[in-house]
């Protein structure tokens, strides 16, 4: 029993079905479009939503970059590249500027994206209102009625309890003044990059069977209050120990011999380029 290898794994009917969902998502920025998520050879929760988007979009002339939490050679990225590579034979790259298609788990690259690029983000929990409402039937209605007081209230309660909006990653955003959207667990540092980005940003949740989109140059605003403005992660002036860059998202590392904490660019391809 051997596998038939169709280009990009899927039959063309499946790709078309996913592309139709993508078109709808682009037409309604921030709205979660349900789709018949396929079972993939990698586990649900390991990027099957992003992978299905990538496989439905990829063509022979594409160059693909895959990142997992900022790294090009982390487990998830390696596995996805191997699967797409084996079924398409297309070129792979680590360099953000050379890629036409970028699939990422929880980071937006440091190098600014262009109009000729598509960024695919992997999404574990697409519903930004899920923490305040468990039922899908109810959250669908809340979105339809643009009833987002619960989303603001939960941030307000965070401030009351902790003195700060405690959301770590996945801080909810308002898309084009209409839909509250989960940006996927990107750090707050990356939220401003969603706003008016020249690239098409697609978000795919395989297990939860949802696709949504931030089309190029869409207004995206992180939820906050006038007296408690949205705040990105603060590295206290730290810089990358390898390339010296400041003002990028940093990984925090611990040196067991000296007992000191030091930092390194989280976007490994960005850092590699700048390394002396």
């Amino acid at each position: 029993m051997n596998h038939t290898t169709h280009f990009a794994f899927f039959d063309e009917g499946s790709k078309r079905e996913i592309r139709r969902a993508i078109l709808k998502a682009v037409a309604i920025p921030g709205y979660q479009v349900p789709f018949a998520s396929r079972e993939m050879p990698i586990a649900r929760g390991w990027g099957t939503g992003g992978l299905q988007l990538t496989l439905s979009l990829v063509g022979l002339n594409d160059t693909l970059k895959v990142i997992d939490q900022g790294a090009d050679d982390s487990v998830n990225a390696v596995s996805i590249k191997a699967l797409v590579g084996a079924s398409t034979g297309i070129a792979m790259t680590d360099q953000t500027s050379q890629a036409t298609l970028i699939q990422s788990r929880h980071r937006i690259p440091e190098v600014p994206l262009t109009e000729n690029q598509i960024l695919v983000l992997q999404v574990p929990m697409p519903e930004p209102l899920r923490p305040i409402e468990a039922s899908e039937q109810v959250t669908k209605r809340l979105h339809a009625e643009k009833e987002y007081s619960g989303a603001y209230l939960s941030l307000f309660e965070d401030i009351l309890r902790y003195g700060t909006m405690a959301a770590g990653a996945d801080h909810p955003v308002m898309v084009e003044g209409r839909y509250v959207m989960a940006p996927s667990p990107i750090p707050r540092f990356d939220n401003p990059k969603l706003d008016k980005n020249p690239a098409l940003i697609l978000l795919g949740a395989g297990r939860e069977k949802k696709i949504y989109a931030v089309p190029p140059y869409t207004q995206v605003k992180s939820l906050d209050f006038e007296d408690h403005p949205f705040r990105v992660e603060d590295f206290g002036g730290a810089h990358c120990s390898l390339c010296g860059t400041q003002g990028v998202f940093l990984d925090e590392l611990y040196d067991p011999t000296t007992g000191r904490t030091w930092h390194q660019c989280n976007d490994t391809s960005f850092c590699g380029r700048n390394a002396p």
Binding site: P41, H106, P187, L253
Partner: protein, 368 residues
């Protein structure tokens, strides 16, 4: 020189996969696919049911490759299944058409057609059988020969198309005759499941649910989180003929033109659940509700649990999680459950760093 965060993940991952192969091989014992299919029938049945793919040979291969892990075998089959073209839908089938191998009722001692015990572990004592350690082909041949000698010449009861126990209750007027829903069923494998779900979609989700998860929720419902105590009206195990309409016959093709494509072994359960229906202030009528379960293979515990949950989800007004269809249907799929749990093993460096920042920010604000 500072410590450098580990890179070169690709080589490490390839080595890990290499080691996995070694781990399976190191005992130097070849486990044949035929041995898996013939010797692990219960596991084959469980895996086919959770994968919703009826193919014993492919299931046996998945079990061998997965080294016996049901969740992994189901995962392999589901991924394989999603690459297969689905060309036909079968005719609607029902338990009445089963060629029975086993059929019991807990409602009545004497049922038309009789109780047929078939094969079941229910009546064995669960004592380890040390003789199996040294079992030989001769032993198996002797077992088969003795059994065949015993049954030879005994007139067997008819096992074809026996009437349902519920039919008797319906004739007595004790059980309502359902209005058949003739609308075409949904297909949860091709369409996103929306809530409220249709019954066809609920039953599909339950039958492909993870055995342990479906059993646990069915059990919880009996124990107090749902207070459903059913009586098994009938449990059937048997072979169900599958037919598809003539693909060239158009929509009005008669059943006589159907193609017979084979038969599948299924377990079917009909449970009766007593419910009190309010008739007036403080006055209740007692009524039986019917819960339905049907699974690929001989999967009796899961099918009973499915029949309980079917009735639970038909009565969403009850204040228990087992009656909440989103709670039940969204959390019983083997591939979704294990996938999301196992993703916790992936690096979460960035998301954790973001959380850490929020924590430190709070701590710095609280400093006097």
């Amino acid at each position: 020189m500072a410590y450098v965060a580990v890179r070169g993940g690709q080589a490490a991952i390839e080595a890990s996969i290499h080691r996995l192969g070694w781990q399976r091989a190191r005992g130097l014992t070849v486990l044949g696919v035929v041995a898996c299919r013939e010797g692990l029938q219960a596991l084959v049945d469980q895996v086919m049911s959770e994968a919703s793919l009826y193919d014993e040979d492919t299931a046996a291969l998945a079990i061998k490759q997965a080294e016996g892990s049901p969740e992994e075998a189901v995962f392999l089959l589901r991924a394989h299944r999603s690459t297969l073209a689905r060309k036909y839908y079968s005719r609607a089938m029902g338990g009445e058409s089963l060629r029975l191998e086993r059929r019991i009722s807990a409602c009545f001692k004497d049922i038309p057609g009789g109780q047929i015990l078939g094969s079941s572990r229910d009546y064995t004592h669960r004592l380890l059988n040390g003789a199996l350690v040294e079992e030989t082909l001769d032993d198996l041949e002797r077992l088969v020969a003795t059994f065949e000698e015993t049954v030879d010449g005994i007139p067997l009861p008819s096992t074809d198309r026996l009437p349902k126990v519920t039919e008797y209750l319906r004739q007595e007027g004790l059980l309502a005759r359902p209005v058949p829903d003739l609308s075409p069923p949904g297909d949860v494998t091709k369409q996103y499941l929306t809530f409220p779900a249709r019954r066809s979609e609920r039953l599909q989700t339950l039958t492909r649910g993870q055995t342990g998860a479906v059993s646990a929720l069915g059990y919880a419902s009996m124990r107090g989180y749902g207070s459903v105590h059913p009586t098994v009206s009938e449990l059937r195990v048997g072979l169900m003929p599958v037919t598809v309409p003539d693909p060239l016959g158009g929509s009005d093709a008669g059943q006589d033109e159907d193609y017979y494509v084979g038969e599948i072994r299924v377990t079917e359960v009909e449970s009766l659940i007593p419910v009190a229906v309010p008739r007036g202030p403080g006055v209740f009528d007692l009524r039986f509700d019917l819960g339905y379960g049907c699974c690929f293979g001989q999967n009796e515990t899961k099918t009973i649990a499915m029949s309980i949950l079917d009735q639970c989800l038909e009565t969403p007004e009850e204040p228990y999680p087992t009656h909440d269809e989103e709670f039940v249907l969204s959390h019983i799929d083997a591939v979704e459950t294990t996938g999301f749990l196992s993703h916790l093993k992936l690096p979460h460096y960035v998301t954790f760093q973001a959380k850490l920042d929020a924590l430190r920010h709070q701590a710095s604000r609280e400093k006097p």
